[in-house]
């Protein structure tokens, strides 16, 4: 008889594999979309590989090739934590087919463990892209032996396990605590954001730890900085020792501790798995409702309200969809209490950037957070099997998507405005610049909403098994997010540089015109797509 873990794991992979759909689907349009998604993903992997390779070349040119293994280990670990933490809730707990799987003769530990391994395998192409590119970069300068290649590649499979387990453990604790509350999703979201704040603050804590080691004066190059981090984060150190010195003890430590931690975590998760899922999936009807005056809304507001309820009903949607707004809020509050020059000094690591130089970029900095993800990218796909509800209503596609766009505007504009006003106050920006920044912020929200909607409708996918597939792994999200983030970063640098030559208000004014024109174009495109769909 085959191993049950393998049977379940294979089935989990097959059931979400586009390749399986491609083999058996007869719909040519769907097949085309899948091939397109494969091409898109390959491009993203290649872009990531190119970035990693050029980073290694950079390190090699300044004589720091020896730190490449440690950087590789740290990069993979960080990505593993980030990828896992926001997926745990949807993959390990409260998933759609829970009843079906748990009614089969699998123990809870097997189900939870396989779900974790599924997450691990799904993320593996990202880790591999980083690892292979960095190994090639390392090869260019160090010319390691065949054994190094072999150890490097094998340990790449082990390296993400510990950070993934740490993130899964945090997710497990959050889910366990929140399962006891009636408003589970709200509690989960608040706790998740709490962990994110903690993680961000820990960066400064780690920095101060490094400084306490009396190495502040010697922290003149990245090499020592990385060595300090690897001293604190042992799996990275083991990886480095394993690949640079073929240290057998380090290899064994990394492998054995990863497996041991996996077994320990899933022993505990398995013991409380049914209890947690029972609490998450079942809440008794209160039966206390009494009919009182019901508020009526316009159709658009009603759709926007439906979107709001959809979001608050899903922790994954809420944490991912409102992360930007949350960050903008934190930034807004932070700049009111911490001197802007101190923040700038920290971020730019002493580069000669003054707060006055930032004036034309205020709205863009806020937009970097707010525009990270738009709900309009995800909401078309998130209709999923309930799509028939909106399709059967007597509303046009135009109205439906206008409602979805309205919700994103309701979400983004207040937070963007708050953060912009706070930064303007903190940097003592002139009144006109502040007003223009505020207008630009609103225009950027409009752009994010409409561009997101175009991506969301174009790459709409209703046949998902788990919300994570469209929220974190959807083609629409990737196409929206990456160019948007890169363009925003480049624009920040560009306007700061231009601001030293041209009147800053003229730059912001020009941006308002460009962004509002783009928002209008994408709005028309979104409406056209919506009508076509209807």
């Amino acid at each position: 008889m085959k191993n049950k873990n393998l049977i379940l794991l294979k089935m989990l992979l097959d059931s979400t594999s586009p390749w399986n759909v491609l083999r058996h689907c007869k719909d040519k349009k769907k097949k085309g979309r899948i091939i397109g998604a494969y091409v898109g993903l390959t491009i993203l992997y290649l872009m990531l590989m190119a970035y990693c390779l050029f980073s290694c070349i950079g390190y090699g040119r300044i004589g720091l090739a020896e730190i490449i293994p440690a950087i590789c280990a740290l990069t993979i670990s960080l990505i593993a934590v980030f990828f896992t933490f926001f997926k745990t809730n949807g993959y390990l707990f409260n998933f759609k087919e829970y009843d079906m799987l748990m009614s089969l003769p699998f123990d809870a530990k097997t189900v939870a463990g396989c779900k974790f391994l599924y997450m691990y395998l799904k993320s593996m192409p990202w880790y591999m892209s980083i690892s292979v590119a960095m190994l090639i970069g390392y090869e260019l300068y160090v010319t390691p032996s065949v054994v190094t290649w072999l150890v490097w590649m094998i340990l790449t499979f082990i390296l993400p396990v510990i950070p993934m387990l740490a993130a899964a453990f945090a997710g497990y604790i959050i889910t366990r605590i929140s399962a006891g509350f009636r408003k589970t999703n709200i509690v989960q979201t608040v706790l998740s954001f709490g962990v994110v704040i903690l993680a961000f603050s820990s960066r400064f804590f780690i920095e101060s730890m490094i400084k306490e080691d009396k190495v502040e004066e010697t922290l003149v190059n990245a090499s020592e900085s990385i060595n300090n981090v690897t001293d604190k984060y042992l799996p990275a150190k083991w990886f480095q020792l394993a690949v640079t010195q073929t240290d057998i003890l380090s290899i064994l430590l990394l492998v054995v501790i990863s497996i041991a931690l996996f077994e320990i975590l899933f022993f505990f998760v398995g013991r409380s798995y049914r209890e947690i899922n029972s609490k998450l999936k079942n809440h008794a009807a209160s039966r206390k409702f009494s009919m009182t005056g019901q508020k009526s809304r316009s159709v658009l507001n009603s759709i926007a309200f439906k979107e709001f309820r959809r979001m608050t009903g899903s922790t994954i949607y809420m944490t991912n969809g409102s992360m930007g707004e949350f960050m903008a809020l934190i930034i807004g509050i932070a700049v009111l209490f911490i001197d802007m020059d101190t923040i700038l000094y920290k971020i730019t690591e002493g580069a000669p950037v003054t707060k006055e130089m930032l004036y034309p970029a205020i709205a863009l900095i806020v937009y970097f957070c707010i525009g990270m993800v738009a709900t309009t990218v995800m909401s078309p796909s998130l209709e999923g099997k309930n799509y028939w509800i909106v399709k059967s209503l007597p509303i046009s596609g135009k109205v439906l998507y206008q409602g979805k766009m309205l919700f994103n505007m309701y979400m983004t504009v207040p937070f963007a405005s708050f953060a912009i006003i706070c930064i303007c106050i903190s940097t003592k920006a002139p009144l006109l610049t502040s007003i223009l920044s505020l207008i630009l912020g609103v225009c950027l929200c409009g752009f994010s909403t409409t561009w997101g909607c175009v991506c969301g409708i174009k790459h709409m996918r209703l046949d998902w098994e788990n919300e994570v597939e469209v929220i974190k792994q959807g083609a629409g999200v990737a196409i929206y997010m990456f160019p948007n983030m890169i363009a925003t970063m480049l624009l920040v640098v560009l306007v700061v540089a231009l601001g030293t030559k041209i009147d800053q208000n003229i730059i912001v004014g020009a941006l308002i015109l460009i962004v509002s024109a783009l928002a209008m174009i994408f709005y028309k495109k979104a409406i056209k797509l919506a009508e076509k769909q209807a």
Binding site: D14, N20, H24, E97, D99, M100, M102, S103, S278
Partner: protein, 242 residues
């Protein structure tokens, strides 16, 4: 054939976090060869009880035994001999029908020859053989229900637990399922199922339990419960009374 208790629910209670009792001291026994109907209005506690029986839902008090094994302490032993058909089967849309059935057969360790025979037999009876190579996402609700039923039957369970099994089935498939239920019972399988179709329950079941607000308000053999009335009349009577 000697009767043996296959499913024993003893003082089972389920209290939700808010303090509401979804099931309150439920006690019943399903013996081998029984077709046991579980009836009650919407929200009475039928599905909650069924999900606890199949080991999906944790419960607060009581004991549930399947062929002498405790659902709480020996869940795997219980699940090996149980088949569950939910009211709205959440099957994997991106698998084909045959891939799903093979998965279930693998989990229950059914050898190739046996699985071929069983799948051919039941897929033929439910007339979905031609669709087994298609993705589940292309199936109608009724076809998904048929696939879930086939997956429940191929491993020859001792206990079949079904939540509204006839919902979504066409008349022929309903008839086929009833025939299969009779055949399985003759072989000693116990069947425990919930339904709102009282006529079907009356014709099909030899035992019945009526649940209201989480409590069993009447249970026993169909003859004892119904007497000279119809099950519908009895149900409405006891439901309004107690």
């Amino acid at each position: 054939m000697e009767k043996k208790a296959i499913l024993e629910i003893k003082g089972y209670s389920k209290v939700y976090g808010e303090g509401k009792k979804a099931a309150d001291n439920v006690t019943l026994t399903v013996e081998s060869g029984d077709i046991y109907g579980f009836i009650g209005h919407n929200g009475a506690g039928k599905s909650t009880t069924i999900r606890a029986v199949v080991g999906v839902l944790d419960f607060t008090e009581g004991e549930i035994l399947i062929d002498g094994h405790s659902v709480k302490t020996e869940p795997i032993e219980c699940k090996k001999i149980t088949a569950y058909i939910p009211d709205n089967p959440d099957l994997y849309d991106n698998l084909t029908g045959i891939q799903y059935l093979n998965f279930i057969a693998d989990v229950f360790g059914i050898d190739s020859a046996k699985r071929m025979e069983e799948i051919e037999k039941y897929a033929g009876l439910f007339e979905i053989t031609d669709s087994l190579g298609d993705l589940v996402s292309s199936y109608s609700h009724g076809m998904k229900q048929k696939l879930a039923i086939i997956s429940a039957l191929i491993h020859e369970p001792k206990l079949i637990v079904m939540d509204e099994p006839f919902a979504g089935l066409d008349p022929k498939a309903s008839y086929t399922l009833k025939q299969i239920m009779h055949e399985m019972c003759e072989k000693g399988t116990a069947i425990f199922f919930s339904t709102h179709v009282l006529e079907t329950a009356e014709k099909l079941c030899n035992k019945v339990a009526i649940i209201k607000n989480g409590r069993i308000i009447d249970s026993g053999t169909m003859e004892d419960i119904v007497g000279n009335q119809s099950l519908e009349e009895v149900f409405l009577e006891v439901h309004d009374e107690k």
